[in-house]
């Protein structure tokens, strides 16, 4: 079930109402049943995969807690193998098989194994990682083994974060599931506000950006630098609004029921370095890889070279986690390289910034850092979004072509417009945008307005707790704003284009 569907619009109030009506002892059952229903709205039979991993981890958790020494380690390994094996089979088998087959063809070997006709279960990488974090934390002694199968199943399957995270840790969520949560006005209202804001980001901004991105990325060879660059920036906005929008809806819907999930995004595009970007982007996954891959590999404890290698490995695995495609691996490798270079040059930058006269240029240096970081992130997004490595290389090598033609044409169009007054300038602007994309003027205008709203809210949130400040405003203002937000979600969506609207991260 998609959050941005009418199905969910009916599902959510029914489940929430029943949740508050039922005595606490029955609530886990209701939430588990609702989560099963939520998941089975996609491909029902894949619920069995979840059942298998939960069962394995349930017994592994209890076994690990009571075992010692090697037996304890072997139980953890069994759990990891079962979980990763499931992921390997459904997500990576065909990818590996295709590559082996291509290699075999290259050396003239008749490779007999065909690809499997399987569909990747929705959100598999998310719930496998969440399930794994449970057994690892029990192994580390940070979490007691859960004896109630239902609660463990609910921890893995809790519907707000089932298909696209945040990837939670048992220490944060399991105890909250056991606790009784009463209806509290402010908490419920704030949860709904998070949901509405997330929905706005997804439906009004991300889906609208897709109208610009998809035609260009679907056939990049027909486009020059300006269109490719704008589409890449639009994709950066699209994926942020899509994924953080999903996370806000997940956070809000869980908060309504009294469960506080971790925040998955913290204004990542305001980061001044790549390492800061990764502390702000998909935080639950970054910290998962930090805690369960990077640190166990040795982290930064074994010298600079080893640290660089560990970082590269971690980001390559992160790329592969996102998708079984070379484009994602290159995306991961790029970020790995960025972060290694970032780590190596950081002491130099710190020293430079501390030189007396440099302090006068702090705002400019900060601006350059913001832009450089955003530029590097956008460049990597090319590989994330492109359908193939060939397309990605075409886009990245043509980013700087055709700019002079575009600029001179745009200047000419606007200059011509100036001669005929205000509407002439407006026409010139739209004509200039239409040299990149054939969106209508309403789509362009709504995109620009929505982006200004996003930027305003992001800056306000970045500088302080915007929601708390907003809650202090006069009720009339607040309710008009809420109503406008909901109306915008209804009337400014892009369903009218007939383009599919699933969340990008569902595919992972």
């Amino acid at each position: 079930m998609l959050f941005n569907s009418f199905h969910f619009l009916i599902f959510f109030p029914i489940v929430t109402t029943l949740y508050f009506m039922l005595p606490h002892r029955f609530r886990w059952g209701l939430l588990l049943a609702a989560s099963c229903y939520f998941y089975m709205a996609f491909i029902p039979q894949y619920i069995l995969i979840l059942f298998i991993t939960i069962t394995v981890d349930y017994f592994a958790g209890i076994g690990i807690e009571s075992a010692q020494g090697n037996r304890k380690r072997w139980l953890l390994i069994a759990s990891i193998v079962a979980n990763v094996g499931m992921l390997a089979f459904f997500k990576y088998f065909n990818f590996a098989n295709e590559n082996i087959s291509a290699l075999a063809g290259f050396i003239g070997w008749n490779y007999p194994i065909e690809n499997l006709e399987i569909i990747l279960p929705i959100g598999l990488s998310f719930h496998i990682f969440q399930s794994l974090s449970y057994t690892i934390e029990v192994y580390r002694g940070n979490q007691k083994a859960e004896r109630h199968f239902g609660y463990l199943a609910l921890y893995v399957m809790f519907y707000p974060q089932l298909v696209a995270g945040p990837i939670e840790r048992p220490q944060n969520v399991l105890h909250q599931l056991h606790e009784e949560h009463r209806f509290e006005y402010q908490r419920v209202a704030d949860g709904l506000k998070w949901m509405a804001w997330g929905m706005f980001k997804k439906v009004v901004i991300a889906d609208r950006m897709a109208l610009f991105v998809n035609p260009i990325y679907d056939s990049p060879t027909g486009h020059e630098g300006p269109a490719l660059a704008f589409a890449t920036i639009a994709f950066a906005i699209q994926i942020y609004c899509d994924f953080s929008g999903y996370s806000d809806i997940a956070f809000g819907s869980a908060q309504v029921m009294g469960i506080r999930l971790m925040k998955n995004f913290n204004h990542p595009y305001f980061a001044k370095s790549i390492s800061e970007f990764w502390r702000r982007w998909h935080i639950s996954l970054s910290t998962w890889f930090r805690d369960y891959v990077y640190i166990p590999l040795g982290g930064n404890r074994a010298g600079m070279r080893r640290m660089a290698l560990n970082l590269l490995i971690t980001f390559l695995v992160s790329g592969l986690w996102h998708g079984a495609n070379w484009t994602f691996i290159i995306w991961g490798a790029l970020h790995g390289a960025y972060i290694v270079i970032n780590g190596l040059t950081e002491p130099l930058w710190t020293r430079l910034r501390n030189v007396g006269f440099a302090k006068r240029f702090y705002p400019a240096l900060d601006g350059i850092s913001h832009l450089t970081t955003f530029g590097l992130v956008c460049f990597a997004w090319i590989f994330f979004r492109a359908s193939s490595v060939t397309d990605a290389f075409y886009i990245s090598t043509h980013l700087f072509s055709g700019w002079s033609g575009f600029i001179s044409q745009s200047v000419k169009l606007i200059q011509e417009g100036i001669q005929t007054g205000f509407w002439g300038v407006v026409n010139g602007f739209f004509a200039s945008v239409n040299t990149l994309s054939d969106l209508t003027r309403s789509e362009i205008t709504l995109s620009v307005v929505a982006l200004f709203i996003l930027l305003y809210i992001e800056i306000r949130q970045y500088r302080g707790n915007f929601m708390e400040q907003f809650n202090l405003k006069r009720p009339v203002i607040r309710y008009v704003v809420y109503s406008l937000l909901i109306t915008a979600i209804l009337v400014l969506g892009t369903s009218y284009t007939g383009v599919a609207k699933a969340f990008i991260y569902f595919q992972f």
């Binding site: 009418f6 209202a189 209508t440 309710y479 809420y482 909901i486 109306t487 969506g493 369903s495 007939g498």
Partner: protein, 291 residues
């Protein structure tokens, strides 16, 4: 908790009312686009309602709207002919509309496009187009396949299209729609034939390549047969006329696929076919596109 819940419900009701006001204002204040091609659907509905029986109703997509000369047919056959073809994306919704107007003695000729047989949405109609069709005549919501399930998306799309249309109207300096050329609702004759392209130098426009896979949509044949039985129960007769195909397209689609399509029509429905496979592939030069 009771106080907290009451406070919440009171505020929720207030916000819901405000949203309903805003949405209602957008919904009722924005009129349908009077130059839209689907404006002609009102003429077609009127013809279905007012033309006395017996009559011939030809229904399909733009292949029918652009492709037949109802006036000539009427002259030759001596009974009124209604061209109820409009747009392929409406799928079978116009067929459901016809059901309400069928009278004894009516002859219905169905000529769906091959595109309708590519997948379910193409057969039952695509929401973004159905929304425009319903906007012209609200009771048409009941002619849509699974109306209760489709209603939320149809009305949401309708609202979104209204907003975009109104914004475009202002942003294009009140000239929005000029780019649609003669594809307008006022370019139909009194039989429902599209005539806007007549007299234009259309031959210079090569027809776009558009060969669609003809898939086995199980519901399609069930629907057609149910329609046939319904028409028979009303004393009407139904025929199926396969869409004419360019020779090149016939070759691309493949004889096997076309054979299979004809066989399915013959074996799964009892609707008599007016065309056989040998007659539907016509020389390329018979076809042209419009600007």
């Amino acid at each position: 908790m009771a106080n907290s819940l009451l406070k919440f419900l009171r505020k929720l009701l207030f916000v819901t009312l405000l949203v309903a006001l805003m949405v209602g204002w957008i919904f009722f204040a924005t009129r349908p686009d009077d130059k839209h091609l689907y404006q002609a659907s009102l003429l077609k509905s009127r013809l279905l309602k007012e033309t006395p029986s017996p009559r011939i109703i030809v229904v399909g997509g733009s292949n029918v709207a652009f492709g037949i000369d109802s006036e000539l047919m009427e002259l030759e056959l001596g009974i009124p002919v209604i061209n109820d073809g409009l747009h392929v994306a409406l799928g079978i919704a116009p067929l459901n509309e016809i059901k309400s107007f069928l009278q004894p003695g009516d002859i219905v000729i169905i000529s769906l496009e091959y595109y309708n047989f590519t997948d379910d949405p193409s057969f039952y109609g695509q929401p973004q187009y159905l929304a425009d069709w319903v906007e012209f005549s609200p009771e048409r919501i009941w002619y849509i396949h699974e109306p209760y399930r489709q209603m939320p998306s149809i009305y949401t799309i309708m609202l979104q299209r209204k907003i975009n249309r109104q914004l475009n109207y202002y942003l294009y300096g009140f000239s929005y729609g000029a780019g649609r050329n003669f594809y307008s609702g006022d370019q139909f004759n009194e039989h429902g034939d599209f005539i806007g392209h007549l007299g234009q130098n259309n031959q210079q426009f090569a027809i776009a390549d558009s060969v669609y896979p003809i898939n086995n949509i199980e519901g399609a044949y069930i629907f057609l047969e149910e329609f046939n039985q319904f028409a028979l129960s009303k004393g009407a007769t139904v025929f199926y006329e396969a869409q004419a195909h360019r020779q090149t397209n016939c070759e691309r689609t493949g004889k096997k696929d076309l054979d299979r399509f004809f066989n399915r029509l013959k074996t799964r429905t009892t609707i008599p076919l007016l065309t056989n496979l040998d007659q539907l592939c016509l020389p390329d030069e018979y076809f042209y596109d419009t600007p």
